[in-house]
């Protein structure tokens, strides 16, 4: 289900955007519009779908329109044209009172420079959204304490922001956003102002919180590494338009143009791709309840044998290779010398499981066999040059 759906969104800065629109419709570029009309095209036909409960990264360099896009979603900036559907309702149709209500209860925001109120304590900052909503003081205090304990700042509730480090201030910003129980969180370069170590900590913290909270997060960043680490999906923006959108793996595997390729070139693929990228879907041998092999090809050494429920029983040993289909397997025919990796494991973990000629099986979350890891495919995936054949499991 899509929580947010953005369709044909435009933002043009200037006092008479009509002419700029006409030029865009006629196929002119952003620079031509600026030169002719003096209008800045900040967003140019943006279409995005954000699934509920996912972290959606909007990645772009400065001036690419990513912050404008974030601010259009809760209408801190008024879009020029298009529609933003929040759970199917068009945000742009909301009047002032409805918009306030949406901002108070359904969309909250975390800012790059924290935007805390220096004259209020951590607790008062955390309860800020609830105070605006008119929630009674004891209720909002309790809620604020609850979210502060989630972000690990319970001991600091009576301190002022000036007494906190950057990372802690952003935790307060996060607590303030969580306190309103809004489902959608807009995080505008939320970790960009933090030093690298603290940034990494906060990223891990966000992933940990997200596993529990399952919010729909729109995360704006200029850091591609951050986008890969946090994002379920990434939209890459350039000059106000989305140039590519997909999962981290899709984008790294098949960058659609040079702009995107420039980001992906130096990426450590072993940490982006999961095991399915290096997997071949080789059919396993199935052993029936009587202990003999069902049809499924020759019993070559190293082939996996599974039971009818899909669990791996072992691999065919040298000795087992002589057994025919339909015949019962004796004790020495199956070897337990194999490794399994989860389908969601990154290649760096998969590589660790490969040792000598030991077969490695890929299993799904329930432990069922999905395929085997092909070491040459694995190496091709990690090398930045794509393998001759597209790896399986990647569909650009």
């Amino acid at each position: 289900m899509n929580r947010i759906r953005i369709e044909r969104l435009y933002k043009i800065f200037g006092d008479a955007p009509k002419r700029a629109f006409d030029m865009l419709a006629a196929g002119s570029g952003k620079d031509a519009v600026l030169a002719t009309t003096g209008h800045v095209v900040a967003l140019n036909d943006v279409n995005i779908e954000v699934p509920a409960g996912s972290i959606f990264m909007i990645m772009g360099l400065s001036g690419s329109g990513k912050s404008t896009l974030a601010r259009c979603i809760n209408r801190l900036i008024e879009p020029s044209a298009g529609s933003i559907l929040l759970d199917g309702e068009n945000m742009l149709k909301a009047n002032d009172a409805q918009l306030r209500e949406i901002r108070r209860t359904r969309i909250s925001m975390v800012f790059q420079h924290f935007a805390l109120l220096p004259n209020r304590t951590v607790l008062e900052n955390a309860e800020f959204g609830l105070k605006l909503r008119g929630v009674p003081i004891d209720v909002r205090r309790n809620k604020a304490r609850e979210v502060l304990s989630i972000v690990g700042l319970s001991a600091w509730e009576n301190k002022y922001p000036s007494a906190l480090s950057g990372g802690m201030r952003q935790r307060v910003g996060l607590a303030r956003a969580l306190a309103t129980d809004a489902d959608v969180l807009i995080m505008d370069e939320a970790f960009s102002a933090l030093d690298p170590l603290i940034r990494g900590e906060m990223q891990d913290e966000l992933l940990r919180l997200q596993r529990v909270l399952q919010k729909t997060i729109l995360f704006i960043t200029h850091d591609f590494q951050e986008a890969l680490k946090l994002g379920n999906r990434i939209a890459i923006m350039s000059d106000g338009a989305v140039v590519q959108e997909g999962t981290p793996q899709e984008i790294v595997a098949a960058p659609q143009n040079d702009y995107v390729a420039a980001f992906t070139r130096d990426i450590d693929r072993a940490r982006v791709f999961d095991a399915t990228a290096a997997m071949v879907e080789e059919h396993p041998l199935i052993m029936d309840t009587k202990g003999s092999l069902e049809a499924g090809g020759a019993a070559a050494p190293g082939r996996f044998v599974i039971n009818p429920q899909g669990r791996i029983l072992g691999v065919i040993s040298e000795e087992g290779a002589r057994i025919h289909v339909g015949a019962p397997l004796n004790g020495g025919a199956l070897s337990q010398n194999f490794a399994t990796v989860s389908a969601s494991a990154k290649l760096i973990e998969v590589a660790g499981a490969c040792r000598g000629n030991r077969p490695v099986a890929v299993v799904d979350d329930e432990g069922k066999y999905r395929g085997r890891v092909d070491p040459s495919q694995l190496l091709a995936c990690i090398a930045s040059q794509p393998a001759t054949a597209q790896p399986k499991g990647i569909h650009p």
Binding site: R104, F111, L117, G129, L132, L164, S165
Partner: protein, 318 residues
Amino acid sequence: MFNPDDLYILPIDEWIQAAVQWTALHFRPFFTVIKWPVETLLASFEHLLQTIPFPIFVILFSLIAWRLSTRGIAFFCAVSLTFIGFIGVWQEAMTTLALIATAIVLCVIIGIPMGILCARSDRAWNITRPVLDVMQTTPSFVYLVPVVMLFGVGTVPGEVAVIVAALPPLIRFTNLGIRMVNTETVEAGLAFGATSRQLLWEIQLPLATPTILGGLNQTVLTAMVMSVIVAMIGAEGLGLVVLQGLGRLDVGRAAVGGIAIVLLAIMLDRITQSLAKASPGGRRPLTAALLRLVRSERMNLDNSGDLADSRRAAHPGS
């Protein structure tokens, strides 16, 4: 023949005379209405300050100075006030103080709302700014002309001139303070669904308070200067002492007035400046100052310990 006077003289003085006379005649009720609150407030302050006995006032004033700023400034106030008392200009000093106090109250009532209006509407600011420019570039001496024409002479018209002169900085600083509030912080207010009233009271005014208090400091000092100058249109107070001294070539008397003025100005400046200074802990300065006024023990100014604690807790592993 090259003297312009020989060619033509524009009778602008006659026109202005006629215009002011006409205005004074037809708008008399209007000016009376303006004068009334000024007169009432001034009379009350004057009565209050003249009634409080000299030693009690010195003690009260120093105590307030101590709570609002530091012990050093309080001590300075005590010494200065005693000195003013013993050089024979106590009553005049109290009159001047009443002039300033009235100006502060009325400037705050008029200036802060106007500043807020200017900050929230570009149109209001575009109209107000040139007016303020003219008001602030006009030498204070020149103010006296229209004031005398419209309000007459004496202490109350003098007070009107003081208010008019002291008002612009407060409007400017209020406007500036609100406009300077960090964009992201304002966005945070809007993003969490603040109404425009909530935005003003929860975010803009608290964060603009130090700047507004800086404007108040300017207003107080301008009022101080103007309260001396209005002696020329018959206002009482320390300015009159100086003016009389000059008129009689009594340098000693004029100097006595001058010394009292300088001491009073330093006191007011120091106290209002420390109001505007941001206090530790991030509490807004006005609240902090008022809290200090009512709390019996001094606020703990040392926050460095807290900061060290926070660093440690941020990196428990290190």
